[in-house]
Every structure is written in structure tokens, then in C-alpha cells.
């Protein structure tokens, strides 16, 4: 496997000669919803305060005026009922986008997601699919304390029957929705709440876009940093800091948490022989544990050092800024973990 293969992952998505626009993550998400609604009359958006309020993170601002209250549907505070209604509507032939304000409130809809959305196809012997998209914000970092700071996408990635996407760049925020809607099965999209204001480039893509493959966001030969979503930025910062110390870190953005793109991870490890996994979720029983296990199963003999994990401290997220920041992964901890794999400090 040549080291160049990794960059092909990115290159595959580039339209030759395509233009690039700069926008915010929030605007990218809104553009994706608009486009999907214009394209397909079966698509509608429903959730709490998506209409008149304009979306709790202002993603859907202006869409009510454009598409009307039937298709931009404000719901009462009834997460279980409207997520279930989304599942039913998908079975009935619609293509719903259900917005749950945050992953924290998705816990009130867990029964519908885990007992219905993920199982209906199987229980019905393949007769009933659920082509549904559920979007929600996730993550800590805004001093919202324990009940509003969960990172539970890894939990959802535990469930067969669900697919999980986590756009970590503005470009992915712009493009991941359509393939999620095109998918015959339920797809959950996790948008890290600290990303909505982030600005970034969005290339014009010529249809050749695959959200299910991991992307190599930075190439390097010394250590592989594996992350996604909200911690991608901090991981790239860490990679930059490592460069100062003469360490070339490769950064993999998982993008899809289920299915996981094992091939891209193992390919990188064959080159770097060292892995650090960065995840805002807690360590115990987690996505980072799953990735660790897969590396051990598939690339054990390629490793030169124990795998390192940089995750959130095993504590509900506290309110004060200094404690919250200490609880979640930071560039400094990522740098230290990467150096540890190289036997340096």
C-alpha cells in the first residue's frame, strides 16, 4: 500500500476545476436542507422550534417562509412522538428530516430510535424500511453543564440498523444530508454544537461524493490521529503543534461512525504504526474502545506502540469553564498522547 493512497480518498471527492465557496457550518446545513426540499417533494423537516423560532441553532432560519408550515413543521415538546412519527412517515413513503434539538433530548426518543427505526426492516423480514434522517446537535464546550453536554453518538453507533454520520467540516455539513436521505435506512447526523459558527471552504462537487469513507485531513508518516466531528479541529491543531517538534502526524476524520471505514484506518497504520484516538465521548464502553479493538484485531502486527486514547474524563460535564475544558480532549493532551506513542515527552 503506497502512502499516496490516503490522499486519493480526498481527491476522489474533488471535482476537477470546481469552484469553492466559503460559508458557515450552519449555512451549509441550511443550504443542504433547502436543496433537498427543492429537489424532492417527499422531504420535509420537523422538530421543536424549527419554524417560527428559526431553529435552536438557527439552522432552519427562513425555511418556514420559503416552504410553509406543512413542510417546515414545528412540533410540541414530544420527542418520542415526533421521532416515531418520522419513522412512520418514512414507512409511509415520505423522506422526513427530523431535527432533535440536541442529543440530550434524543434520550426521550430512544425507544423509537432503538426499538423501531433500527429494527423494523429486520423484524418485518425486509418488508419495511425506514428511510429517515434524524439530525441533532451533540457535544460539550459551551458551559451548559451535565444535562446539555452529552456526546452519545458512539452509543448510537452501537446499534445495527442505524447509520451514523458526523460532519466535522463545513463541506461535509453541506453535502452529507443528501446521501443520508438517499439511503434506504435510518441515518443519524450528529452536528457538534461548537461548529455551527465555523467558517470553511465548500468545493463544488460533481456528484462524486461518498460520506461513508473516512478522510485523511492531513498526511504524515509518524503517527495516526483518528477523530471525527467536534474534535477534528483540536486534533488538527495538535498535528500542527507536533510538526514543530518534527513529528508528522496523519489525521483521519472518520466522518461515518457506523459503518466504520476500517480500511482507511488500517492503511494509515501500516505506514505510521502508531495510533491515537481522539473522541469527546467517555472511554468506557465507547466508540474509541471499538476502534481500538478493531486495530488490535486487524493491524496488531503493524503496531510499534500501545494505542493511546484521548477522551472525555469519566465525569458528567461540569459547568465552570476551567473544569469543562479540563474534562474534554484538548490539543495539549493529544500532543502528549502522540509523543507517548513515539516514546518521547
Amino acid at each position: 500500500m503506497s502512502p499516496d493512497t490516503a490522499s486519493d480518498t480526498q481527491a476522489a471527492a474533488t471535482a476537477p476545476g470546481g469552484g469553492t465557496t466559503t460559508m458557515t457550518y450552519r449555512d451549509a446545513m441550511r443550504a443542504a436542507i433547502r436543496e433537498a426540499m427543492q429537489r424532492d417533494p417527499r422531504v420535509f423537516l420537523m422538530g421543536e422550534d424549527v419554524g417560527r423560532y428559526g431553529g435552536c441553532y438557527a439552522v432552519s432560519t427562513g425555511l418556514l417562509e420559503e416552504f410553509g408550515p406543512e413542510r417546515i413543521r414545528d412540533t410540541p415538546l414530544s420527542e418520542s412522538a415526533f421521532v416515531g412519527a418520522g419513522i412512520g412517515a418514512a414507512m409511509g413513503g415520505m423522506r422526513p428530516i427530523v431535527e432533535i434539538m440536541t442529543v440530550n433530548f434524543s434520550l426521550l426518543a430512544l425507544d423509537q430510535i432503538v426499538n423501531n427505526a433500527s429494527t423494523l426492516r429486520h423484524m418485518s423480514g425486509g418488508q419495511c424500511g425506514v428511510p429517515l434522517v434524524i439530525r441533532m446537535a451533540t457535544g460539550a464546550g459551551r458551559q451548559l453543564a451535565a444535562q446539555h453536554s452529552h456526546s452519545l453518538e458512539g452509543w448510537y453507533a452501537h446499534i445495527p440498523g442505524l447509520k451514523i454520520l458526523a460532519p466535522g467540516t463545513v463541506e461535509d455539513a453541506r453535502y452529507m444530508l443528501q446521501p443520508a436521505l438517499d439511503d434506504p435506512d435510518p441515518v443519524l447526523i450528529f452536528e457538534h454544537a461548537t461548529l455551527y459558527n465555523a467558517e470553511g471552504p465548500v468545493r463544488d462537487l460533481a456528484g462524486d461524493y461518498d460520506p461513508w469513507r473516512a478522510a485523511v485531513r492531513r498526511e504524515g508518516g509518524d503517527v495516526t490521529l483518528i477523530t471525527y466531528g467536534g474534535t477534528l479541529g483540536r486534533t488538527l491543531e495538535a498535528a500542527e503543534a507536533l510538526k514543530e517538534d518534527g513529528i508528522a502526524a496523519e489525521v483521519i476524520d472518520l466522518r461515518s461512525l457506523r459503518p466504520l471505514d476500517d480500511a482507511t484506518i488500517m492503511e494509515s497504520l501500516r505506514k505510521t504504526r502508531r495510533a491515537v484516538i481522539v473522541d469527546e465521548g467517555w472511554k468506557s464502553g465507547s466508540l474509541s474502545a471499538e476502534i481500538t479493538a478493531r486495530i488490535v484485531e486487524q493491524a496488531f502486527w503493524d503496531l510499534d506502540a500501545p494505542i493511546q486514547r484521548v477522551c472525555s474524563a469519566e465525569v458528567p460535564i461540569p459547568y465552570p469553564r476551567h473544569l469543562e475544558q479540563a474534562a474534554v480532549p484538548q490539543p495539549g493532551r493529544i500532543v502528549a498522547a502522540a509523543k507517548a506513542t513515539l516514546g518521547r515527552d
Partner: protein, 331 residues
């Protein structure tokens, strides 16, 4: 809703105390808004301005051994329950001297000693807890009340309906107090409920329930006293729907695209303080000097609370993983 003509006879001390509590909350909240602009308070901040009469009136019906469960809009409830303003303000800052050790912030004020079981930030999340607190009193045969405050937005949640049923079915000593301010974030009540008379939902579960003028602190106190007495006497749960209004944004992030400024202004004219002050002055029960004196005392109390919070300590990072499990060994 009864007009103001049915005011019971209240002592001067009683009136002063009610006014004092409402003013304390109003000015505390105004201070918090200021401190939020200065980034002393962070995260979500939900102000209670406009709704003071509900917490102040209802809390007067409670005894020290009763329990209180509230939402993320709970600063007023904590203050009216007697949680010291210093400890509340320190919590807003996230300082170790705060009433939740700084861990909770604005949405999670706790004070076990005063049986104040939190600010819950999941809509509807407090109701089942209140049921359980009441169940423990029932099982232990303690004549206590658990007061559970929540917004009208919560009545759309399954947890509301499950709790109504359990409370009524098991005749649990809960006093439910729905603070109907007509908006759940940007969603007006009539856009989210097929039945907008919220108390009828409780009645449907066989629970005595009534609507109360939530801008009239005296009416709320009277209704709460009656309801709490019935609950304490073992007659099962009671439900009060207090019709009020939120004068400020839902939180500090809310641009309020969903309602007219004129609507807010109209409600302000009939706010709980305007109403109460108008009544007591007109009836000659209190005088401007009384109000001025209260204002001065409260300004001082707030200054002291801010100074206390400013002087407070940040918990050291070394203890980050404290309070996940009990610190005493299992017995």
C-alpha cells in the same frame, strides 16, 4: 380568575414579605442579565422576570420539611425557598462556594438542606422525580408535600402524562404547579396543544386542578395554601395552572422572532409587581417609604451576593472527577 376585589386581609408584615421576595427575584435577575453581558455568568441563563408571583406565592404554602423540584428557570424558586442569595450567585459564577459547588450553574441550583431538589434542564424531567419524593413521604407516612414546578411546554411530554397518572393513581402528595407563560421557547401554546386549558389535562387523570391568575401573588398564595393543605391531609395530588408571562427572552440566545414587542409591553403593564404595588398603595396598606426601604435592603443584598461570588474560589482541576460516586464507603 377572580378580580383583585377578593383580596383577603393580610398583615403588614405579610405584605412586606411578599413584596420583598418578588423584588429580590426581580432585581437578582436583572443583575444576572448584566453579569451575563460581562461574561461572569456563562452557558444558558433563563430569567424569571414577569413570573415572580408564582414562586413567591406558592412557596409560602410550603413548610421547611416539604420538597421542591424546579426547572432550569429556577433562580426565583431557590431564592423564595430560602437558599441564600450569596450561594445562588456563586453558583451562577461556577464558584466552589455555590449552592451546587459550582458544578451545576444557573440551570442546576440544589440545596438539600432546604429540600430544594434542583433545577432540572430536561423539559418534563423533574415530574417523575417529584412523584418519587412524594412516594417516599407516603411510604414513610410523613405528612409532607412535594411541590413540582414546570412550564406549560412540559405538558406535551410523555413524562408529564405518565406522572399525572401515577400521582393520581397512587394518591401521592404532590402539588403540581404549572407555570403557563404561553411560550415554550418560540412555540406558542396554541401551536403546540390541541387543548390549551392546561389544568384540564390534570383533571382528565382525576386530579383536582384549577387555573389561577399567575400575575396575582395573593391569589396564588391562597390557591397554593388550599391545595397544599389537601395534599398534606392525604387527599392525593393537586394541580395549579398559574397563567403568567415571560417578559424576557427564553434565554440569552433568543432573538424573539416569534412574538411582537407590543404583546410583551401589554403584559408588562399587568405584571406581578405592577399589580401588587398598585393594589397595596391604592388600599393604603404600604407606602412608598416602605418600598424604598426594601429596595435599598435588596440592593445591598445583591451587592453582597456579587461580592461573595467574586471572592469565591474556582474548584481545583485536580478534583475534576469528584461527585460521580459517593465519597463515603458503602456500608
Amino acid at each position: 380568575m377572580a378580580p383583585d376585589t377578593h383580596k383577603p386581609r393580610l398583615s403588614r408584615a405579610h405584605l412586606l414579605e411578599v413584596l420583598r421576595q418578588m423584588l429580590r427575584i426581580r432585581h437578582f435577575e436583572e443583575k444576572c442579565a448584566e453579569l451575563y453581558q460581562q461574561e461572569k455568568i456563562r452557558g444558558f441563563l433563563h430569567l424569571y422576570i414577569g413570573e415572580e408571583a408564582v414562586a413567591v406565592g406558592a412557596m409560602r404554602a410550603l413548610e421547611p420539611e416539604d420538597a421542591v423540584v424546579a426547572t432550569y428557570r429556577e433562580h426565583g424558586h431557590a431564592l423564595a425557598r430560602g437558599v441564600p442569595m450569596t450561594a445562588v450567585m456563586a453558583e451562577m459564577y461556577g464558584k466552589a462556594e455555590g449552592c451546587s459547588g459550582g458544578r451545576g450553574g444557573s440551570m442546576h441550583l440544589f440545596d438539600a438542606e432546604r429540600r430544594f431538589f434542583g433545577g432540572n434542564a430536561i423539559v418534563g424531567g423533574g415530574l417523575p422525580l417529584a412523584i418519587g419524593l412524594a412516594l417516599s413521604d407516603k411510604l414513610a407516612e410523613r405528612p409532607r408535600v412535594t411541590a413540582c414546578f414546570f412550564g406549560e411546554g412540559a405538558v406535551a411530554e410523555g413524562e408529564f402524562h405518565e406522572s399525572m397518572n401515577l400521582a393520581a393513581l397512587w394518591k401521592l402528595p404532590v402539588l403540581f404547579i404549572c407555570e403557563n407563560n404561553y411560550y415554550a421557547m418560540g412555540t406558542a401554546l396554541e401551536r403546540s396543544e390541541s387543548q390549551t386549558d392546561v389544568h384540564l389535562k390534570a383533571q382528565a387523570y382525576g386530579m383536582p386542578a384549577e387555573a389561577v391568575d399567575g400575575m396575582d401573588v395573593v391569589a396564588i398564595e391562597a390557591a397554593a395554601l388550599g391545595a397544599a393543605a389537601a395534599v398534606r391531609a392525604g387527599e392525593g395530588p393537586r394541580f395549579l395552572e398559574c397563567r403568567t408571562y415571560r417578559f424576557r427572552a427564553h434565554s440569552m440566545f433568543d432573538p424573539q422572532l416569534y412574538r411582537d414587542k407590543a404583546e410583551v409591553e401589554e403584559h408588562r403593564k399587568h405584571g406581578p409587581l405592577v399589580r401588587f404595588l398598585g393594589w397595596i398603595k391604592e388600599a393604603g396598606l404600604l407606602h412608598q417609604e416602605d418600598v424604598d426601604r426594601l429596595e435599598q435592603e435588596i440592593a445591598k443584598e445583591i451587592d453582597e451576593a456579587v461580592a461573595f461570588a467574586e471572592a469565591g474560589e474556582w474548584e481545583p482541576v485536580e478534583t475534576l472527577t469528584r461527585h460521580v460516586y459517593a465519597e463515603e464507603a458503602a456500608s
